[in-house]
Symmetry: C2
């Protein structure tokens, strides 16, 4: 494989509308990227001479990339294999028997399809939970995707701590976070070990939490308390963190999250498709909790599209609260960008400001669903689609532009490898 290292690359976006996401204001001007960071934003053209690439935005919008705060990227091979099933049937009869046939190297290949989908939809970072996280990391680094790994499936806790220190100190595309899958799948001593690690590292803690009503009921029956209360009791949230899904929080759970400054990652695409429930997002926000958005994986959603997730998030809140004023557009856009960055712990690529990492997307305002330009933020949230994303830059590198992927690998070869893995797994099931 050919890896080209480009040094001191300067890219100038000129004639842009710029939504920094520090507030709702949109400024008109130019933005310069030097290497991996934003070097200049202003109404005058920068004075730099040796610019490598000039992109005329012609009035289009630049904004921070979307942050997908919960996913299982490598589950791409299960897309459209597991629909219209009950949750039990989905997990035990479709997903788990196939996952048991995954081989080393598969996750590396399978994650790539999802990364392509992120790029085409303006998602510049993902918080990824799956087996063999270092394979996903390798695929992400090679493609240029920003990823934070959940060290869930690694039971070697010394290795977990080593990876946490090494990857987060390196400050590259790949970061690492401490997680367990969920309360209801905890192994003997697993939580205690992870909590010890969290305490040692001063690290936040994440898990699937209160995704279904059954999960909460069974936890109460077994432990006398909700999953949130149990995690708190065990000290898991002593350095913050959060939960994925969070559909069935009690008022006490909300207070626990508030107390520990935890984030809720809502996944309405998955929660509706699997009929898990509707998270009370407005209640979380009213209580000052940071709410981010995740797509969940391609086996349960099945798309990896932040526009779809924003739509479902506002739709479910407005209609169930019977209040069309609930969750206005800018709140949604914050959840999909800066709140996501906060949940994932990405302090350096959340907004468009000088000195921040250049994780930038360009929104085409010249497509009919973005016209007329009465209110750009509302256009993006209420009538936007991923088709409007015409450029995705991560860490200063343009990885997607006008429907083309600027990566070092042939797209059809990625598809073919994934199809072959799927075929091998199906054959393996039949051979059993």
């Amino acid at each position: 494989m050919l890896i080209i290292i480009i040094k001191d690359m300067k890219t100038l976006f000129k004639n842009a509308r710029i939504l920094k996401m520090t507030d709702e204001n949109i400024i008109i001007g130019h933005l310069l990227v030097k290497d991996d960071r934003i070097a200049y934003i202003g109404s005058e053209l920068p004075e730099d001479k040796d610019i490598d690439e000039i992109i005329d935005c012609d009035g289009n919008l630049l904004m921070p990339g979307f942050k997908n705060a919960h996913t299982h990227s490598a589950m791409s091979f299960l897309r459209s294999k597991t629909d219209d099933h009950t949750l039990q049937d989905w997990l035990f009869n479709v997903v788990l028997p196939r996952e048991a046939l995954l081989q080393p190297g598969d996750v590396y290949e399978l994650a790539k399809i999802s990364f392509l989908e992120y790029l085409s939809g303006g998602i510049t970072a993902c918080f990824d939970m799956y087996y063999s996280p270092l394979e996903s990391a390798k695929a992400a680094e090679e493609m240029g995707m920003r990823i934070t790994l959940c060290g869930t499936y690694n039971k070697d806790f010394d290795m977990v701590k080593k990876l946490y220190r090494e990857l987060n100190e390196k400050d590259g595309l790949v970061r690492y976070c401490l997680c367990v899958h969920a309360e209801y799948t905890l192994g003997e001593g697993e939580l205690e070990n992870i909590v010890d690690a969290c305490h040692e590292l001063h690290a936040p803690f994440f898990a699937h939490i209160s995704e279904t009503e059954t999960e909460v009921k069974e936890c109460i029956a077994k432990r006398g308390m909700t999953p949130v209360a149990y995690f708190e009791k065990m000290g898991a949230f002593d350095y913050g963190g959060g939960g994925y899904h969070c559909c069935w929080f009690t008022d006490e759970d909300i207070q626990i999250f508030k107390r520990h400054n935890c984030s809720v990652v809502t996944c309405p695409g998955s929660n509706t498709k699997l009929a898990s429930g509707i998270a009370p997002i407005c209640k979380y926000l009213e209580n000052g909790i940071n709410v981010a958005i995740g797509t969940d994986g391609p086996a349960s959603n099945n798309s990896l599209d932040m526009f779809k997730e924003m739509t479902l998030t506002y739709a479910l809140q407005k209609v169930t609260l019977r209040d069309p004023t609930a969750l206005p557009a800018f709140e949604l856009l914050k959840m999909a960008t800066v709140n996501g960055a906060k949940a994932i712990g990405l302090k350096d690529c959340d907004t468009l400001e000088v000195g921040k990492k250049a994780d930038i997307i360009e929104i085409d305002l010249k497509q009919p669903n973005m016209q007329p330009i009465n209110n750009i933020i509302n256009n993006i949230v209420y009538s936007g689609t991923k088709e409007n994303v015409i450029l995705t830059m991560i860490n200063g590198k343009i990885l997607y532009r006008d429907g083309k992927y600027l990566i070092n690998e042939d797209i059809s070869s990625i598809y073919e490898k994934c199809a072959k893995i799927g075929e091998r797994i199906e054959k393996g099931l039949l051979d059993k």
Copy 2:
């Protein structure tokens, strides 16, 4: 304006997957369009020699275009002007004062932005309700869009009957249907006149029906019965028809619709954004009612995107019924295509069969959200977006391909004219 009339045009789509929508089967083969109709579908290449255009689909999917069974296309000027308001505030303080300032010719210009959005998302027909319907008709005919007009706002009932006869006999792109806006906005004698016309013409009848709970409650208080029961009592459904929205039907309303073979047009984008309610779609289907999907207009949705509407339709049913098996993918695709055609009365462009009108879209299966190809129908419904539509043909003419509009008008000029109308209206409000 230049109008080019092309005769005996032959377009061959080769190497395609073809979903006829007569059932779930997808065949592999070739499809020939001669003039405005499908002339051949088969696994061997057709023998025709003088083919004007050959499109190599390279394994992509051809399917019937989506039918948008309820919209107000020309409300494009109000997109993102009216969000996060209560319904009363939305209608009386934002929408109506601006609509009062519309001038002749405005609707003609304003409808075009929405038609472009339909084309880019594979919507090949719309059931359109707005003031000055003949202006929308003119814009549709010029662009090549298929439209059925609701003769709602024309109080000249002789003209309504004349248009109904003339336009429906002509069998062109423009058709005509008898409607009232809603029970709660009926003028003196309006319903009686429209019902007389329905009886004289043996015509179906449509209206916004039971969109909000308030509408139903007020109708019961005023007339002692629901809007559906009132319309039935007045004879409006004697030749069938249906309702837009239909969120709050009683069991008796369902039986009335069943008895008269009426269609429900659900608009979940609008109903969630305005917090109107969740239509019980599965209950309607269980009762054998034809259910179609509409986007509603760009002022209340705000997008005109059948993928978004399919998503909201299944999401709301699965999660509120707490049943992930509810409303499986093919049901959704039927609602978005053949059921829509049935509701609108389009008998000739509902499926891909020889002799049918060529209203065809091509779905790009080589985008990452369509990979791997485990199940194409599920891919379209659960992970598809309008970005996957790479070609839209209406009546045998390709009007959209690879992001470009093949129409006789400059897109930016359409945007500019609409922006100017919006500015004039805002200025008019200030001058008041």
